[in-house]
Amino acid sequence: MLTIRRAQRRFGRRVIFTDLDLDVPVGARVFLGGNNGSGKTTLLRCLSGTLTLSAGQATVGGHPVGSLPARRLTGVCLTPEQGLYEQLSARENVTLVARLRLPRRAVRAAVARVEAELDLAGYATVPVQRCSAGMRARVSIARALVAEPTLLLLDEPGRSLDETSRLLLWQALDRRPELSCVIASHLADDRDRCQSALTLTATR
C-alpha cells in the first residue's frame, strides 16, 4: 500500500531523515517512534503530500504521494488538536471533509458512522473552539476516517485522549482490517498494537 524508497527530507543543510526505505502492506500498522524533533511529523507530512521529499520517492497504492489518486487513498490526521475550523461544529468539520471526498448521497451516513464510532454525539453541534483538546483530537481522527481511506496517517493521536477515547480509536481501527496505518506516537500501548516499528533518530 505504502512504499518509500531512499527518501530524504532536509531543511536547508539540516537533514531530517535520509535513505529511508519502508513498505507498509495492506492492513499493516507501523509504529513511528523517536524522540521529539526526530522527524516523525515531517515524515507524515511528506507521506500526506503537504511537504515534498528532498530526494527519493514514496507511493501510495502505486501513485506518487501528493497526487490526486494518492490523496484519495490517504486519510490524514496531523497535529490532531489543530487544523480545525474553529467556528464550525465538530459535525460540520467532519462533514466538510466528507463532502470533499464522497458522493453526496454517502455523506450523511459516513458522518453518522464516525460520530458514533468516536462518540462525538455529545458535542457534535458545539463549535470546535469550545471543545477540549481531547474532543478536538477525536474530531480530527473522525475527519481522517470519514471517507474510509486505505492508508491512515496519524500524528500522536493519543496524546490528548483519555483511556476510553484511545480505546475508541483502536476499536475503530480494528473494524477496518484492510486499513494500513502509520502512527507516530510516544505511547508504549500504541507500539504494542502495531505489527512493526520504525524509529527515527534526531539529528545532532
Binding site: T3, V15, T18, R45, G61, L73, R101, S196, T199
Partner: protein, 287 residues
C-alpha cells in the same frame, strides 16, 4: 542524521482501485462555499461594520462633491456630476477590496490555523479549491455592491433615471469575477511568499489610482490613460458608469468576460504553483 533503526514489514505493493465513487468538483466547490456560510464570524458583525464603513465613505464624498467642482471640460465618463462619478468608483473599489484583501486574509488565516494544509491533503483539484475558496468573497462583493447602489439611488441622490439595470448587473458580476482573478493571484503570492495582506493593500491602492476611481483617467500623466485601458478594474468602472447613464455597456461586459476567461485559469495555475512551492518549503502551515 536521522535513520530508521528497525526494519519494517516486508514489501507488498498493492494498488487498490482509485476509481471508487468520489465527490464531483462542483460538489467540492459547494462544500467549500457552504463551509464559509456556516461560519457566522464571516458575515454578521463584520458585514454590518463593513457596510457602515462603505456608507460613511460615500457620505464623505457626497459632501466633498458639494464643495469642490471639477474644472470645466473634465471628462466624467458619462456621469452627470462628480458625485455620480466617484460613487460608482467607491462602490467598485469596495468590490475590489472584498475580492482581494478578503481573499488573501482568508488564505492567511487558513495557513496559520493549519486548515490550508488539511485542504491540500484532500483529493481536491486546485481549480475547485481556488473557486471554492473565492466563492464567498465573490458573493460578498456582489452583495456589498448591490447594497451600496441601493443606498446611493434611494438616499444619496445618485442619478439612476436612465440606468440600464441589466447592464449594471452584468457588469457587476463580470467585473467582480475578473478582479477575483487578481485576488487569487494575490492569494498565490500569499501562500508562496507570505506578506499577502501588504501586497493586497498595495494592489488595491495601485488599481484604484490608475482605474478612474476618484478622478478621470484622462488626468493621468504620459501614456497611462492608454496603458490602463486593459485593466479589468478600469473597464468595469467605465462600463458601470455607462450602464448607469443609459449608455452602451456591451463592449465593456464582453471585455470583462474575456478578461475573466483569461485571468481565472491563469490565477488558478499560479495558485497550483504556489501550493507546490509551499509544499517544497514546508510553508503550507505558517505560524
Amino acid at each position: 542524521m536521522t535513520t530508521p533503526t528497525t526494519p519494517t514489514a516486508s514489501a507488498a505493493t498493492t494498488s487498490r482501485p482509485v476509481g471508487r465513487p468520489a465527490a464531483s468538483p462542483v460538489a467540492m466547490i459547494l462544500a467549500l462555499v457552504r463551509r464559509d456560510l456556516g461560519d457566522p464570524r464571516q458575515f454578521r458583525l463584520p458585514l454590518l461594520l463593513d457596510l457602515t464603513f462603505g456608507v460613511v465613505n460615500l457620505v464623505v464624498f457626497l459632501f466633498i462633491s458639494r464643495v469642490l467642482t471639477p474644472s470645466s471640460g473634465t471628462d466624467l465618463a458619462h456621469s452627470p456630476s462628480y458625485f455620480d462619478f466617484v460613487a460608482v468608483g467607491i462602490t467598485f473599489l469596495l468590490v475590489l477590496q472584498a475580492a482581494t484583501t478578503q481573499l488573501t486574509g482568508r488564505v492567511i488565516r487558513e495557513q496559520r490555523s493549519g486548515t490550508l494544509e488539511l485542504l491540500a491533503a484532500q483529493p481536491v483539484p486546485v481549480t475547485a479549491l481556488t473557486i471554492g475558496t473565492a466563492g464567498y468573497p465573490f458573493l460578498f462583493a456582489l452583495l456589498r455592491s448591490c447594497v451600496y447602489l441601493t443606498i446611493l439611488g434611494t438616499v444619496l441622490g445618485l442619478h439612476t433615471g436612465r440606468a440600464d439595470w441589466w447592464g449594471v448587473a452584468v457588469l457587476l458580476i463580470a467585473g467582480t469575477a475578473s478582479v477575483l482573478g487578481i485576488g487569487i493571484t494575490l492569494a498565490a503570492f500569499t501562500v508562496a511568499v507570505g506578506h499577502g495582506d501588504a501586497a493586497a493593500r498595495l494592489a488595491v491602492v495601485g488599481l484604484t489610482f490608475v482605474s478612474g476611481t476618484y478622478f478621470p483617467v484622462s488626468e493621468l500623466p504620459g501614456p497611462l490613460p492608454e496603458l490602463t485601458a486593459v485593466l479589468p478594474s478600469r473597464i468595469a468602472l467605465d462600463g458601470l458608469r455607462a450602464a448607469l447613464a443609459g449608455g452602451d455597456w456591451a463592449w465593456s461586459a464582453g471585455a470583462l468576460l474575456g478578461a475573466t476567461a483569461l485571468l481565472l485559469p491563469l490565477s488558478s495555475w499560479a495558485f497550483a504553483g504556489a501550493l507546490r512551492v509551499a509544499a517544497g518549503r514546508g510553508a503550507l502551515k505558517r505560524d
